[in-house]
């Protein structure tokens, strides 16, 4: 269970948001919505302790994440707004790097199946800089399955994806929550998934 208490964030003395609190029990999804520049990415970065909030605390399973950072990271997958795959490496090399980096137990057959499902199979040995934006995004999303962690955080996961992949992603979300997982993502598009809750960041902005 992820708990955030009264998080406030300032940038250059401008208040981005104030007193954001959220609770994310298992089997639940939170969708952070709000206009551009309202701080959706910032909130996600705070929840992963990439940025440090000016006020407020975040708790994972009852423990403050500041003191148990690496234990917390063992349970979190963070898909950022940018591609983290290295452009010099090929698709399969990036996947094997992630597999080894996170000591994943995913098998080669499963990797093949994922690549097939995302129709990345024919680009297996293509370096990333020859792929399109959507394909890079798809590759980025494979990390969700490779890392196999409880809490998923995604920054604008739907950008650049085709309708087929969006449906696939929604299905993955549903399966993940069914097996006790938790998801937070930020998006302008509100998908039709059960157990989803909208967090409107506009309510916390101080203009």
């Amino acid at each position: 269970m992820l708990l955030a208490n009264n998080i406030s964030f300032y940038r250059n003395n401008n208040i981005i948001f104030k007193d954001v609190s959220l609770a994310l029990p298992p089997q639940k999804i939170i969708n952070i919505t709000g206009a551009n520049g309202i701080g959706k990415t910032t909130l996600l970065k705070i929840l992963t302790h990439v940025l440090i909030p000016k006020k407020g605390d975040i708790f994972w399973n009852g423990k403050n994440i500041k003191k148990n950072l690496f234990n917390y990271y063992k349970d979190v997958t963070f898909v950022m707004d940018k591609q983290t795959s290295n452009i010099n490496l090929s698709v399969i090399e990036n996947i094997f790097f992630w597999k080894k980096l996170f000591s994943s137990i995913i098998s080669k057959k499963e990797i093949d199946a994922i690549l097939d499902l995302l129709s990345l199979d024919s680009y297996r040995n293509t370096p990333i800089n020859y792929l399109s934006n959507g394909e890079i995004k798809k590759l980025e999303l494979t990390r969700l399955v490779i890392e196999r962690k409880k809490l998923w955080m995604l920054d604008e996961p739907y950008i650049g994806l085709d309708i087929e992949t969006i449906n696939l992603l929604n299905e993955t979300f549903i399966n993940h929550t069914k097996s006790g997982g938790m998801i937070i993502f930020s998006s302008h598009y509100v998908p039709e998934i059960p157990n989803i809750e909208n967090l409107q960041l506009e309510n916390y902005a101080q203009r």
Binding site: Y73, S85, L101
Partner: protein
């Protein structure tokens, strides 16, 4: 066990990326050799003079070519956010810095061991002196890499003024130049003492660099 796997994975990835960008290394070596040639042409055919100043020339050019590798350190990983990913896999920033220094040293400094004797031939340096250059380079090059790491991490958010990174390297490497070049001209009793001072500087930088670079990276991530 988990973090050992992560370290190996990062090591393997960096090796692969460096291997793919092998032309970078070649061009840095070319820069070094051409710089030596330009010195030879500009000073003229005075063999005795080269025996005196040759070592200084070689070290100066090592320093200048070290500046070229500056952007390779953290900039790409920082821009695409994979440094955050590495951190989230359980590696501290300090460890990431240490691994990067090792990889960059292997790929950008080790090739100089082949090219320095070649440069020594061009500059007509005597063989015993070449040995001394190689020894001083063996100790001095990790220091240069550490300094480049500090400078590279300091300039992560700097998108305009690229020269300032090189300026930082130049300032910090003055003591290394003094002691490495000093070895050659020193009398035999002092050589050991000079080498020991150089080793001392090496240990100081190896101890300090991970913390300094990691602090700079953290600051850069906070302020992006």
């Amino acid at each position: 066990m988990h973090s050992v796997n992560s370290i190996l994975a990062l090591f393997y990835r960096e090796l692969k990326i460096s291997y793919r960008n092998f032309s970078d290394i070649l061009s840095i070596l070319m820069f070094f050799l051409l710089g030596i040639l330009i010195f030879v042409f500009s000073i003229g055919p005075n063999t005795e003079m080269f025996n005196e100043i040759g070592i200084g020339v070689i070290w100066t050019l090592i320093l200048l070519s070290n500046n070229l590798s500056l952007r390779k350190f953290y900039q790409n990983d920082f821009n695409d956010g994979s440094i955050i990913l590495l951190h989230m896999s359980g590696l501290s920033y300090e460890l990431i810095v240490l691994i990067k220094i090792m990889i960059i040293w292997i790929f950008l400094q080790l090739p100089f061991f082949i090219i320095i004797p070649l440069a020594a031939i061009l500059l007509n340096i005597e063989l015993p002196n070449v040995n001394l250059i190689l020894i001083s380079f063996l100790i001095g090059s990790p220091i240069l890499t550490s300094i480049a790491s500090i400078s590279g991490s300091m300039n992560l958010l700097n998108q305009r003024n690229f020269a300032i990174g090189s300026v930082i390297i130049m300032i910090l490497s003055i003591p290394i130049i003094i002691f490495s070049v000093g070895i050659i001209n020193a009398s035999e009793e002092i050589v050991r003492a000079q080498l020991k001072i150089l080793i001392g500087i090496l240990f100081f930088f190896l101890a300090v660099t991970p913390w300094v670079s990691a602090a700079c990276i953290k600051l850069a991530i906070q302020n992006k």
